[in-house]
Symmetry: C2
Subunit: 365 residues, 2 copies
């Protein structure tokens, strides 16, 4: 083998010499380029290599490194390695890191409209989110929203419909939500508050012990694949999988605008297309792995997958409408973006009722 | 070991460049490369620039051209420009063109298992197709199937649930299918035949006049966006949108293996990632544009969107199961791939019933 490696290096040596020097020796179709190399940092809101959420940026870095032939190398950092998970946006805005991977609703305090680009309760599922974003004007409005911070957003993966979460006691009526301490971020948290619950903001790493100690009574996280990894079934009995608050939760890649503009056009395009590929790849992974995790939870751990009673779901929907209306009234940008979102949803849900929903029904008959 | 050799060659490549070229003019981080350029032809089964199906390969070519900085340029040809639409696979296999864009079920005569990679009646929708393909072993089996022809397949876009089609007379019972001349390719055609209809193979460009002249009584094509473009509403009164035969029709990019192997690693990766991005992009486009087309068909042209009666749908499902069982019995490869497909579908449909379907239901309440 050593010999083979030696030979190959030798061959590489010779061909490189032949190819890389003296452009006059090149055939007419060749291009000689001097290429600057770039080393980027990508900070994330997730534990390093956390399934799905954390592997997506690693996969992104790999694609970019390979497509650029090493001209742009991206190194991924887990939450807390350079900055805490909730400071990813600031780090990218200030140029501490050239890129970030997180969820837009973490920046709600800075921009009330930001959560629209993660999920709207009773809004788009994954396919609809992608349709609106790329062919319904969504991404242009997202870019405009982040522009004052010198940050460019790209879709960064989708988990599909997220589960309503893990509860220590059963939810039989809206009254059972009164005083319930539940970890739920974004607009979903506002909705829960309206129904009398107490939404709590905690990062993923804090959830298991908080639920175990009784510091919280319930938590949503993602769905079977990620929830199994955290072991919530050991500390909460009731798993409600019927989603409502994040029906197609989108993650985000963010890029420092100045760093992006310093890249040559081909590397800019490589970054953009890699985000697009990863955006699909994450959903593919969740679609495949949620099933297996569901089987494990059911068959190995005896977890029962439940739905909220109809009146609880109806109350959540009513409260969601109120929360969205309040956000629209208090923030012009939220109202403007939501107008586009709602128009698209009206149409897409009418068509999906005739196509996707009708098909799911016919398949099961 | 292969990986190690690859790494060593990579290292040799970079270090040789540093050594062999006038490094004095470069800043320390720069890389000088002499790069061979490649000019590829991409032949398709669609009219040049046909909405969705035909714009996807154009978009692909644009991404590759930009990401490669002009080192790999791809020129797209419509059906009939170099080879007819149904000869795309042969052209790629023989190297007449380096790439193709088509649908795998057109190659059913050559490989009975090929239609699985377009759609299975009552099988996966788009999201499930992508999950199985990239995280359920699907793409590996597809590669193996095309390997003897020197062709490498990649997912090439998805239309979502396809409509059942346009019919000159109403379908009120299974008896109405007797003797019906309907354009429907792939396994869907076999199913129709089993119920007494006469499936006809025609390319897209022939459909309007065939329907108009009465040469056929019905046709399926894609869905509102593409169907409106062909103007079928002018020549057939009844539009059945409830899909069953192609619930998530996947297109394909094919690459001549020898041409692919001649590319350097970075350009290979650029081709692969661009197909992945376009695979999502096409679905995004259909998701957005089917709605608008539906509104136009309804409000401007007075088209009523109909579903087949339950007993017709049940008969189609029963016949689909029989057709698939026959294919499994007569072709080992079909049976092997279908085993993986069915196992994945059992799990994913159980999970989607709890997540996507449950969500669609709750959203409408």
């Amino acid at each position: 083998m050593k010999k083979l490696v030696g030979k190959l290096i030798g061959l590489a040596f010779i061909s490189m010499l032949a190819v890389s020097c003296g452009g006059d020796k090149q055939s007419s179709g060749d291009v000689v380029k001097s290429q600057k190399t770039f080393k980027w940092k990508l900070v994330t809101s997730w534990p390093k290599n956390f399934p799905g959420l954390g592997t997506a940026p690693e996969n992104f870095a790999k694609l970019v490194n390979e497509m650029s032939g090493g001209r742009l190398t991206v190194k991924v950092y887990g939450a807390g390695e350079i900055v805490p998970g909730f400071e990813v946006f600031d780090a990218v805005s200030q140029g501490t890191a050239q890129m970030g991977h997180a969820a837009s609703y973490y920046w709600k305090g800075k921009m009330p409209a930001a959560p629209i680009f993660t999920a709207i309760p009773f809004g788009f599922n994954a396919q609809e989110t992608n349709g609106w974003l790329h062919y319904g004007g969504g991404i242009e409005m997202w870019r405009e929203l982040y522009k004052p911070f010198g940050v460019i957003p790209f879709a960064g993966g989708n988990t599909g419909v997220q589960a309503a979460g893990w509860f220590k006691k059963e939810i039989n009526s809206v009254a059972d939500l009164q005083g319930l301490k539940i970890r739920i971020p974004g607009l979903g948290g506002e909705v829960m508050k309206k129904l009398g619950a107490v939404p709590v903001a905690l990062t993923g790493g804090e959830l298991f012990t908080s639920l175990q100690s009784g510091a919280i009574d319930a938590t949503e996280w993602v769905g079977p694949y990620n929830d199994l990894a955290f072991g919530f079934h050991k500390v909460a009995e009731h798993y409600y999988t019927s989603g409502w608050h994040e029906p197609g939760a989108m993650l985000e890649f963010t890029v420092n605008e100045k760093a992006y503009n310093e890249l040559p056009k081909d590397l800019q395009k490589i970054v953009e297309v890699a985000t697009r590929a990863i955006n699909q790849d994450m959903l593919d992974e969740y679609t495949a792995r949620n099933n297996n995790a569901m089987e494990t939870l059911k068959n190995k751990h005896g977890v029962v997958f439940k739905s909220f009673p109809n009146d609880v779901m109806a109350a959540l929907k009513q409260a969601s409408n109120e929360v969205i209306a309040e956000q629209e009234a208090s923030d012009e940008t939220f109202a403007k973006i939501m107008k586009s979102y709602r128009q698209f949803q009206l149409q897409v849900s009418e068509y999906h009722n005739l196509s996707e929903v009708e098909y799911y029904k016919n398949r099961e008959q």
